[in-house]
Symmetry: C2
Subunit: 208 residues, 2 copies
DNA sequence: CAGCTATGTTAACAAGCGTTCTTTTTAAGG
DNA sequence: CCTTAAAAAGAACGCTTGTTAACATAGCTG
C-alpha cells in the first residue's frame, strides 16, 4: 500500500529548494545574473549536483516560467464570472482592483512580477505569456464585464475593449510603481489606497 | 576659418561610434548581454581600443544613460507650458498624447525605451531616473495642467495628481504594448490611433 | 625631420560561466 | 549485510567576460 506517494522524498525536497533559490536569485539578478553556482550555493550543494535534478539551466527557468503565469487572474474571473457578476457595476471593478492590490503586496507574486519585468525584453516565452495574460485575456474578460454593464445601462456606451484597457492600464501602472518603489526601499503605504481611488475616479467618468 | 571644429576628428568619431554601437547592442541584449567585444566588433576595432575612449564598460553605460532621459518630455512642457496652454483643454491633452505617440514610433526613442525597460530592475540609476521622469516630474507638470482646467471649469474638480496619473498611465501602457509587439514583429498599425482614442475617452469622463 | 600624443593591435590575465566526467557518499530493500 | 540506485562532491573542460600591458602606427607640432 501507500502506492500513492512512491517518489523519493529527499530528491523532491532539493528539487524544490533549487527552484525556490533560482526564483529568488532570478527575481534579484535576472536569468543571466542567477548563475548555476550561485543557485547551488544558495541551496547548499555543489553546482554539479544541480544536474541530477535538471537537464540544464534553461530547464530550471522553464519550470519556473510554468508556475509564473498560473492562476493570478484566472482565479478572479472564475470566482467572479463577468457574465454574471458584472451587474454589480462599480462593486465588480472594486473587487478586481482589490485582487490586483492584494497581488501587489504579496511577497511571492512580487517575485514573479519582478522576473517577468526582468525578462520580458529578453525571453520570447515570458513576453508571449505576458502579452497573453496582461493584455489579451485579461482585457477580453474585463471587456465582457463592461459590455454587460452597458447592457444594463449602468455605464455610458462605448467600445468595451477600449474601456477595459483604460481601466486596466492604471492598475498595471500602479503595480509597477509599487515594485519599483520597493526596490529602492521607498515606502509604499501612500500607494495602498490608490487602487480604490482609481476605481472611484474611473467609475465617475463612465457611470450614468 | 573653420576654427569651429577644433577637436580631433577621428577620435570623436569612434567615440560616438562606440556609443552608438553600445546603445544598439544594449537595446537588444541589455547591459550584460552587450559585451565589450561585441561592441568593439560592431565598431570595427579591437576591444582593447575601447579603453582609449572610456575608462570601463560602466562609463559607456553611464554616458548613454546621461543622454537617455534628456528632453523627451521637457521639450513638450517647454513648448507647451501648462500654466498658459492648459486652457486649451482637450486639445492640450491631445497634443501631449501626440508627443508620446511620436516617441513611440521614433526609432531612436524606441531604443532608449528598450534600454530603460531592460535595466529598470537592475540599475539603480535607470530606475531612479525613470521614477523621476515617468512618474514624478511628468505627473507634476500634467497635474498643473489639470489644475488649470479645473480653475477654468473645463473639467470636473478632483485631485489633479490622481487625474494626471490616470491620464498618463494608459499612455505608458500603450507605449509598452507597442514596444513588445514590435519585438515579436507583430503589426502595430492597429495601435496607431489608440492614443487619440484614449484622449477622447478620458476627456468624456472628466469634461463638464 | 624629430618627437609627442592619440589611437590602434596583439597577447595575455584572472575570474566567472554552463556543463560533463569520475568518484564518493548516502539511503533503502531484499 | 550486501546490493543497488540516487544524490552529492570534486575536478576539469572549453568558452566568454572585463581589463591591462606592451608594442606599433599613424598624424600633428615644434
Amino acid at each position: 500500500m501507500s502506492q500513492v506517494q512512491e517518489e523519493p522524498k529527499v530528491a523532491k525536497d532539493t528539487k524544490e529548494k533549487i527552484l525556490r533559490a533560482a526564483m529568488d536569485l532570478m527575481a534579484l539578478y535576472g536569468y543571466k545574473g542567477a548563475s548555476v553556482r550561485k543557485i547551488a550555493k544558495a541551496v547548499g550543494i555543489r553546482e554539479s549536483a544541480i544536474y541530477n535534478h535538471f537537464k540544464n539551466k534553461e530547464e530550471i527557468f522553464k519550470t519556473i516560467l510554468a508556475s509564473l503565469f498560473t492562476t493570478p487572474f484566472d482565479d478572479f474571473f472564475e470566482n467572479h464570472p463577468p457574465e454574471k457578476d458584472a451587474i454589480e457595476g462599480k462593486n465588480y471593478l472594486m473587487k478586481f482592483a482589490a485582487t490586483i492590490k492584494e497581488l501587489s503586496f504579496d511577497a511571492r507574486n512580487e517575485k514573479l512580477f519582478r522576473i517577468i519585468m526582468l525578462e520580458i525584453m529578453q525571453s520570447d516565452e515570458v513576453r508571449k505569456q505576458f502579452l497573453k495574460y496582461f493584455f489579451d485575456e485579461n482585457i477580453k474578460k474585463l471587456s465582457t464585464a463592461f459590455f454587460v454593464m452597458m447592457q444594463h445601462a449602468l455605464i455610458r456606451s462605448g467600445d468595451p475593449i477600449l474601456m477595459a484597457q483604460e481601466f486596466f492600464a492604471p492598475l498595471f501602472y500602479y503595480r509597477l510603481e509599487i515594485t519599483l518603489f520597493r526596490m529602492d526601499e521607498r515606502p509604499t503605504h501612500s500607494l495602498s489606497s490608490i487602487f480604490e481611488k482609481h476605481v472611484d475616479f474611473f467609475w465617475e467618468g463612465i457611470a450614468l
